[in-house]
């Protein structure tokens, strides 16, 4: 379980998040929604040790993550899929996956199994496995980025707007895949999304972040009933 | 004692003036246009050496003196004829000075153009490599091509300041250096406020945005480089005229690294900061050099190397703790626009 309490964080003098508290459970998708510039990415960065934490705590299964450098947090079983620049463009698809797997301390057998799992989830990547990653299409690239996050079988997967800028057919497909991941893999998924409709369809729990503060917490159906919030900040309802 | 102080101050001000020209030039190139000119030595040495090469030749033309000796390879015998004529003829001396400075400026600008060819289109890092590499070239040319300034022996130049009397010669030279440095400084400050200067800064801030607004990257960089190199060339010319002789030994440390140190110290982009940084640095540096003999016996090595280490350390500290300098750059907003901003704010 990921538990964030009273988190205040930002970058140097730029204070972005104010008293953010959030809980995300295993085998659930927790979605963080909100307008541009609300601090959604900063929240992920804070969890991953990429932002400055002024006060509050971040705990993953009762272990404090604050003050750890990113590579240590990564070794604790956290994967962060960036929105952009999220693959190694000059390596082949399989090299991308194997490289990351080797650094998570997996043994040979685990790597092969995990690789098979990923190719089952994204068959297109298996087809393209000898292709240089930089030459993939936008949707395929995003699948590879998510796979890089999945290969080490994380306890916590942070997804930063995985569908941003993708063609419609890829958006639907990716959303479905994320739902499939939730069912087949035992992990916490924290999803930051701008595509509110899609996110509400698959999320188990929703947080709305506005100007660095959490203004709503509940299930997707509760959010849809709160018309004021849904309309004003998310453009739905 | 009094004479010593006067000597110290004259020397201090001459160095200040030369460095102010260089640093103002560097500030136009870096602070305005964002060019990482690590090859300042190129146009500076160019200005200094062309002055060494041409001053005597032009003096012969101007005075019409009959000089048998070749002014480059036998400068002493040539100067025996030329210097007395110049000393007794202020008008010719001043004409010579002006001609030489114009040559220094145009040669500097020409060298700026040469540096530009490969430079303007490149990314910052490649640009820095090219300019740094080119900076080392001038000395090789001067050493390899004997007729330029007599190879590694160097050359003496006619004295264009001695007409005021040998006692006041250095005062006059220093005064002229300061005057020219001041004029260049004012010009740079003025340039910063013109649309041209602001366009340069816009490019420095964000190349892509500026280019998309129709500002030509190459054109503005080229202009900044040519103006800067012309300044640098003048500084080189004055250095040779002030010293009375020049050898191909101008160092990257003195004439590229130290100017960078000074503009970092003062504040890149801000002319006043640059002038302040230059003054502080030259004052401390000259005080140390003036009192060098006190340390000479104590240190087991040549004190010159101590300069490299201490100044290297200071630069490292500036880079880490205060890269914006003593007086950081402030955005300049022209008056008519400033009024509009005030109006629009009060309406909110």
């Amino acid at each position: 379980m990921l538990v964030i309490e009273k988190l205040n964080s930002g970058y140097g003098k730029l204070h972005v998040l104010y008293d953010v508290s959030l809980t995300a459970k295993r085998k659930e998708i927790t979605a963080v929604l909100g307008p541009n510039g609300a601090g959604k990415t900063t929240l992920l960065n804070s969890i991953f040790g990429l932002a400055d934490i002024y006060s509050g705590s971040i705990e993953l299964d009762d272990e404090r993550l604050n003050k750890m450098p990113p590579h240590m947090i990564s070794r604790r079983g956290v994967s962060y899929v960036f929105q952009l620049m999220n693959i190694f463009p000059n390596l082949t698809v399989e090299e991308n996956l194997r490289l990351v797997a080797r650094f998570s301390g997996m043994n040979h057998k685990d790597i092969e199994n995990s690789l098979k799992e990923i190719y089952d989830l994204f068959p297109i990547l298996k087809e393209r496995r000898r292709q240089v990653a930089g030459t993939l299409s936008g949707g395929e690239r995003q699948m590879l980025a998510i796979s890089i996050g999945l290969i080490k079988r994380p306890r916590l997967l942070l997804l930063d707007e995985p569908t941003a800028g993708l063609a419609v057919r890829y958006v639907d497909m990716l959303i479905e895949k994320i739902l499939e991941m939730k069912k087949t893999m035992d992990m916490i998924i924290l999803l930051v999304e701008q595509n509110v409709h899609k996110a509400l369809k698959i999320a188990d729990k929703v947080y709305v972040l506005v100007s660095g503060r959490i203004i709503f917490e509940g299930t997707p159906s509760e959010l849809v009933n709160k018309e004021d919030i849904a309309k004003m900040y998310l453009g739905v309802g | 004692m009094f004479d010593v102080i006067i000597l110290f101050i004259t020397d201090l001000l001459a160095f200040f003036g030369i460095y102010l020209m260089l640093n103002t030039a560097l500030n136009i190139e870096r602070g305005y246009a964002g060019i990482p000119n690590f090859g300042l030595l190129f146009s500076y040495a160019g200005g200094a050496y062309i002055t060494g090469h041409l001053t005597a030749k032009i003096a012969i033309l101007l005075t019409g003196a009959k000089v048998e000796a070749d002014p480059i390879t036998q400068p002493v015998s040539a100067l025996m004829v030329l210097n007395p004529i110049l000393a007794s003829n202020p008008l010719i001396s001043i004409t010579l000075l002006i001609i030489i400075l114009l040559i220094g400026a145009s040669f500097g600008a020409l060298l700026g153009l040469i540096q530009l060819g490969p430079a303007i289109r490149l990314r910052e890092d490649y640009l820095a490599i090219t300019l740094l590499a080119l900076g080392e070239v001038m000395n090789y040319i001067a050493i390899a091509y004997k007729p330029f300034i007599n190879g590694s022996l160097g050359v003496q130049v006619p004295d264009v300041f001695s007409w005021i009397g040998s006692r006041y010669r250095f005062y006059l030279a220093t005064g002229i250096i300061l005057l020219i440095a001041f004029i260049l400084y004012i010009y740079a400050e003025f340039l910063g406020r013109t649309p041209l200067g602001r366009a340069m800064k816009a490019i420095r801030e964000n190349e892509i945005a500026a280019v998309s607004l129709g500002k030509s990257l190459t054109r503005y960089r080229a202009i900044a480089m040519i103006i800067g190199s012309a300044f640098t060339g003048v500084a080189g010319s004055l250095w040779t005229l002030y010293s009375g002789a020049i050898t191909p030994t101008l160092q990257r440390f003195d004439w590229t690294f130290l100017p960078w140190l000074m503009i970092f110290l003062g504040g890149i982009g801000n002319n006043l900061g640059v002038a302040l940084g230059t003054f502080i640095f030259v004052l401390i540096n000259r005080l140390i050099i003036f009192n060098k003999h006190l340390l000479a016996g104590v240190l087991p090595f040549d004190i010159v190397w101590f300069d490299y280490i201490s100044l290297g350390l200071i630069m490292g500290l500036i880079l880490i703790y205060r890269p914006q300098g003593i007086l950081p750059e402030k955005p300049y907003i022209p008056k008519n626009i400033r009024r509009k901003i005030v109006v629009s704010r009060s309406q909110e």
Binding site: S79, F88, F103, S104 | F38, D125, Y126, L132, I309
Partner: protein, 297 residues
């Protein structure tokens, strides 16, 4: 002519070792290292000191690797890493390497002064070729520099492509933030690349006095050829460096010597200009280096 060719190959090998480090650092830290010449000069004085103490100067290749590697590590940890943490621009990082070069120039000169007073020798003219050995008509420096280049290139290849540390290094070159996000200690990998690059420069420096007359300011002479070789090969590909090293090295030696026979001996004086001209021509016509042309096919 054969003699010039052999001398050219020696020079090219040394140049390749230096350029290799520049390219490696450019790939990992994204900064042109203007202090690289200092690393070379520390190598020169390592083998010179060994020779003064009565040891075989070739031991300097090993010791020089370590000495210059450490000099490079100091630059990384004292200046570049604090600046990187502050998210300083590339320009500030470049300025930092330039500053370190000045600092090291002061230190090496003090060391030369120290050697001069201690051993009563002219420590500013370091030339060890007279002490070199010959084998089957070849000079020792030729044999050692070419074979060391080949061995080190192979080791580098194995490191990068066959080991997990090498994989991490490549990941850092490709995408540092993603590498960090996946458990790679980027700072440590950068430090490793600085140690390796410094070491390679140290090896080249240790061999240099066997090839030519050197002194503390030899570094200034080397800046242009080193960067030229590195850019000529292509800064985007590590193995471009030896390619650039050999093209430039042979051009400055063999080509100039041939030209001096055709045009006149005076051209030799200007052989120092070859790297500058090549550098500028490369930047205008093939800014991504010879490798980019080869890979394009």
């Amino acid at each position: 002519m054969i003699e010039t060719l052999i001398s050219g190959i020696t020079y090219s090998s040394l140049l390749s070792l230096m350029a290799l480090g520049i390219t490696l650092l450019y790939r990992t830290t994204k900064v042109p290292n203007f202090a690289h010449a200092s690393f070379v000069v520390f190598g020169i004085y390592t083998s010179y000191t060994l020779a003064l103490l009565g040891y075989n100067p070739y031991l300097g290749t090993l010791l020089g690797f370590i000495v210059s590697g450490i000099i490079a590590l100091i630059l990384f940890y004292a200046l570049l890493e604090p600046l990187r943490r502050r998210k300083s621009s590339i320009f500030i990082l470049m300025m930092a390497t330039l500053t370190y070069d000045i600092l090291m120039f002061g230190i090496i000169n003090i060391y030369a002064d120290y050697l001069q007073t201690t051993f009563k020798i002219p420590a500013r003219n370091v030339y060890l070729a007279p002490q070199d050995f010959t084998l089957i008509g070849l000079k020792g420096v030729t044999i050692v520099s070419t074979s060391l280049l080949i061995v080190l290139l192979m080791l580098l290849y194995i490191l990068l492509n066959r080991t997990i540390i090498g994989a991490a290094l490549r990941a850092v070159m490709e995408n540092p933030s993603l590498a960090q996000a996946n458990g790679i200690n980027v700072s440590l990998m950068l430090a490793l690349s600085w140690f390796l690059a410094g070491g390679l420069a140290g090896v080249a420096g240790a061999l240099l006095p066997m090839y030519m007359m050197t002194d503390p300011s030899t570094g200034m002479l080397l800046i242009a050829p080193m960067f030229c070789a590195s850019i000529l090969g292509g800064l985007e590909q590590i193995y471009g460096a030896p390619l650039g090293g050999f093209i430039l090295g042979l051009a400055t030696t063999v080509l100039v010597s041939w030209l001096s026979g055709v045009i006149g001996y005076w051209i030799m004086t200007y052989s120092l200009m070859v790297p500058y001209i090549t550098l500028i021509v490369t930047l205008i016509f093939i800014p991504r280096g010879v490798v980019s042309i080869i890979l394009k096919r």
